[in-house]
Symmetry: C2
Subunit: 191 residues, 2 copies
DNA sequence: ACCTGAACACCGTTCAAGT
DNA sequence: ACCTGAACACCGTTCAAGT
């Protein structure tokens, strides 16, 4: 008589993510996850490719969430406003998921799944194209994403310790990005 | 008769860093480090506050190195050229130390030692002040550092997978940063 | 004063045996 | 078809005993 499944991959991933956010990545043990879903550690190997596989699934789940929230953030009318909304959505997600977010760009994972990545960049590319022109879409999107990820990464790491207002630095850079991406209008006018 | 020291904290830290760069962070075991310096694992606890303490010292050592290389990179004549040189030095360090670099902004370390941090930001702040004016020094420096760190972090994580030339994106963003930081000259001219 | 073997608690993972 | 206890290899860390 086949034994019925007592948990699911989704439950395992969510439990793992909750553990990371509550107690940190080091607390993510197979036994802790198993206990959280009401099973024994060896059973997890039916759902997940070991601890490393679980971490990757957590990162993928988070990446899909970010993508959805970036999509929701843009309105499509004012490109500059969309850029700010996009960045704000990313930052809000990171501050709400401070332990999970850094997984998205962990070099040990060598990137998140292609589907999650493609969804995430879609919104950014549209805004970048609207601001910088289609011919600069890719480098403009990369500039925005690099800055935003770097900023929240440093914020999460507690790297802004020289005083000053972190929110002011955030707004200053966003103003600068709008100017920088929109600068093609100045071409030829001056050096 | 007191036993003579058979290794040193420096040797332990360097050996640990070499292991990380060669085989990854997961290969950094106390036994591997001990073997590399010719000692048994328990002896390392005389030099280093456990594995976590060792990782922190590796990050601090790397941070001091980055700081020195950033200092060396700037010439002091042309601020825009200094910005490019600064960014290039950071990127070169990251590509030469792909496993160590991400430790610098690992939230689990909650930042690198204050001395290393202060040294690192010194060069960036000078360049930021020269480009953006003293009144915007801090937010300008944060914009530059956030972008540069974000860019190389994504590059190391293999996050630039949409094709296109990564170097082109790098140069595009640097051009944009020069424009963005120097935009105070445009104040009042237009919105 | 530092080094070591032995020991402890804990971890990821495998697998034969259960149902 | 999934779950489990038992087992294995490995890890970080402590500490009494050596020199």
């Amino acid at each position: 008589m086949p034994a019925p499944a007592r948990t699911s991959t989704d439950a395992v991933v969510s439990a793992g993510r909750a553990i990371i956010e509550r107690d940190g990545l080091a607390a993510l043990t197979m036994q802790a996850v198993a206990a959280a879903v009401g099973v024994r550690a060896p059973s997890l190997y039916k759902r997940v490719a070991g601890r490393d596989g679980l971490v990757r699934l957590i990162a993928d789940q988070a990446a899909m969430e970010v993508a959805a929230q970036l999509d929701d953030a843009i309105g499509g009318v004012d490109p500059a406003a969309d850029l700010r909304a996009l960045a704000a959505a990313l930052r809000a997600f990171a501050l709400r998921n401070p332990a999970t977010f850094p997984l998205l760009f962990d070099p040990r994972l060598a990137g998140v799944s292609p589907e999650a990545r493609d969804r995430s960049v879609g919104a950014v590319r549209r805004v970048a194209a609207a601001l910088a022109g289609a011919e600069h879409e890719l480098p403009a999107a990369r500039m925005v994403v690099a800055w935003a990820n770097g900023f929240v990464t440093m914020e999460l790491a507690g790297a802004f310790q020289l005083g000053g207002d972190v929110d002011e630095a955030w707004d200053y850079a966003l103003d600068g990005l709008v100017v920088a991406l929109g600068r093609r209008e100045d071409r030829g006018g001056r050096v």
